[in-house]
């Protein structure tokens, strides 16, 4: 059988044009002859592929025809995400906007810098009592005139004042560093008005602590210190009080411990609500049991009733750090509290002799 005739026979077989006899004979032949069987399958597959190809071409033609009728442009316009006008603005002008923003930021920073706004200390007044010159000058002049009349030596007026308190009975006094900073000479004055010369034997500007030693020969032992020093931090809302010399006579003030950190989160300090004034600086801050828990030191000028006190831990550190050669003996802190069971009036009365006005010349 020639190949051409074979293909024709296969085609007739596949298209069902054969009559029953022919068909049976062909199928018989196909079963016996594996080569014929392969040819049939091959032909079927190839013409099938041709047919499918034709269908595909037709389908694509139909789809293209449908596509022609669609307004592609309108749909594209509709589904495109249009960025909001602000994004559009940024895309078009971002370089100009950046330059403008940089200039603005620079200008603001420069202004803040030159007006001193960036300097935090602005809001922070040290409580050291600068004696008002105008106020004092008249009395001073009067005194001077009287003194000259009487032919007496003129006592120079003090430059600033603060408060200090005894930490040992032999005349070690704690105060704030900023009270005695830059002092030519330092005098302490007790409640009864007696003055003793003292000198700073240890300064810690970092924590704002200064330890003074009384060097006056007329000074005698103070006797047993009634208060003790608290090592640990105190709790919030602790009832606290202070005692100091914002004026010539001692002033008592009390309030609460309001925060465990000071200005801008400064952990050196407690924040307290005790009413205090310039001159209270360096004064003791005590809790209700009569423990020293801090040293009063500063005030927030922008807020009323917000004050700060250095935590007693830093005072204890300072005491520890006093150079040995400036001491006759190692300071021994009082550990027996004589105030715990007393009323507030009795406590204050007991403390009085141990708190001093610090006068700086």
């Amino acid at each position: 059988m020639r190949d051409e005739q074979l293909i024709e026979a296969i085609e007739r077989y596949l298209s069902g044009e054969m009559n029953a006899d022919e068909r049976n004979a062909f199928e018989q032949l196909r079963r016996e002859n594996a080569e014929l069987d392969t040819r049939v399958i091959e032909h079927q597959q190839f013409t099938g592929l041709l047919k499918q190809y034709g269908e595909r071409v037709e389908l694509e033609r139909r789809l293209n025809a449908i596509h022609q009728e669609i307004d592609v442009h309108a749909i594209a316009e509709e589904v495109t995400v249009h960025p909001s006008w602000i994004v559009q603005l940024w895309r078009d002008h971002h370089s100009k906007i950046s330059v403008a923003a940089s200039i603005a930021i620079f200008a603001v920073l420069a202004t803040l810098f030159f007006t001193g706004y960036l300097n935090n200390n602005n809001s922070y007044t040290e409580l050291s009592r600068e004696v008002g010159r105008l106020n004092r000058s008249t009395t001073d002049m009067k005194k001077d005139i009287n003194a000259i009349k009487k032919g007496r030596v003129i006592a120079a007026p003090d430059k600033s004042r603060g408060t200090g308190f005894a930490i040992t009975s032999n005349g070690l006094i704690a105060t704030s560093f900023h009270v005695v900073n830059g002092a030519d000479s330092i005098y302490i004055q007790d409640v009864s008005g007696r003055s003793f010369k003292a000198k700073a034997i240890y300064n810690d500007p970092q924590s704002d602590v200064s330890i003074l030693k009384v060097i006056d020969t007329t000074f005698r032992s103070l006797g047993q210190i009634p208060y003790t020093f608290k090592h640990s931090e105190s709790d919030l809302a602790e009832n606290v009080f202070t005692f100091g010399f914002p004026q010539d006579s001692p002033v008592y003030g009390d309030g609460r411990l309001t925060s465990a950190s000071g200005l801008n989160g400064d952990t050196l300090d407690y924040e307290i609500s005790v009413p205090i004034n310039p001159g209270n600086s360096g004064g003791p801050l005590l809790d209700s049991k009569g423990n020293i828990i801090g040293i009063v030191r500063a005030k927030e000028t922008r807020l009323e009733g917000v004050h700060f006190a250095l935590k007693s831990g830093y005072l204890l550190n300072a005491i520890k750090n006093i150079p040995e050669d400036s001491l006759t003996k190692v300071p021994v802190l009082n550990t027996e509290n004589a105030l715990a069971k007393l009323t507030r009036q009795q406590q204050v009365k007991k403390i009085k002799p141990y708190v001093f006005m610090v006068k700086v010349y």
């Binding site: 190839f46 041709l50 499918q52 595909r56 749909i75």
Partner: protein
């Protein structure tokens, strides 16, 4: 199954039965219904309207073949299926063009349709080979083959339109043409 109703989005079963019944209208309504979705997908992922057309038509063909084969299950939504196929096709296209940034902005659920797309890809290769084989075959062979094997015209008709003196001549011609076509087809890599 009537597909003459003019509602904007045809139901899935309308489309499936429409395709099975070779309804021209069903395909048209299907095409119009989901083209904007595909346009949105392609345009928002670095494509052009022409890309959208190519991808969408290919997806319609995948769906068409699947429905014709009878294995499209109506439990998955037609819309989701088309979206998934387009997404897959577009990812493939992007990676071929090395433009794929590793991220596609989806706004629809999608199904795993790798098998369908893969199958379609293989068939496309066969069709491309067939197309170029037919091109190389030249006239009149191309028309004879197309008329007989694709358009199902009888040898008698072909014989007449080509002016062959008898059907045997036409048959011999057709046989030779088919042999050449096979050769051309299988020669291609």
């Amino acid at each position: 199954m009537s597909t003459e109703s003019k509602s904007s989005i045809p139901t899935d079963s309308e489309i499936v039965f429409g395709i099975l019944n070779n309804s021209e209208n069903a395909i048209k309504r299907l095409y119009v219904a989901y083209f904007p979705m595909v346009m949105q997908l392609i345009l928002n992922n670095n494509g052009t309207p022409d890309d959208a057309k190519d991808i969408y038509q290919e997806a319609i063909i995948v769906l068409y073949n699947k429905v014709k084969k009878g294995d499209f299950e109506l439990n998955s939504k037609l819309k989701t299926f088309i979206y998934s196929v387009c997404r897959r096709l577009w990812l493939k296209r992007l990676s071929q063009m090395n433009r794929y940034g590793g991220d596609i902005h989806d706004f629809n659920d999608y199904l795993p349709v790798e098998d369908e797309v893969e199958e379609q890809g293989e068939r496309d290769i066969q069709f491309t080979k067939m197309q170029s084989a037919l091109q190389m075959l030249g006239e009149p062979c191309k028309t004879i083959i197309e008329d007989f094997y694709i358009h199902n015209r009888s040898m008698q008709e072909i014989c007449e339109s080509f002016g062959y003196t008898n059907a045997d001549n036409a048959k011999t011609q057709k046989y030779k043409c088919l042999q050449r076509l096979k050769k051309l087809f299988f020669q291609q890599k």
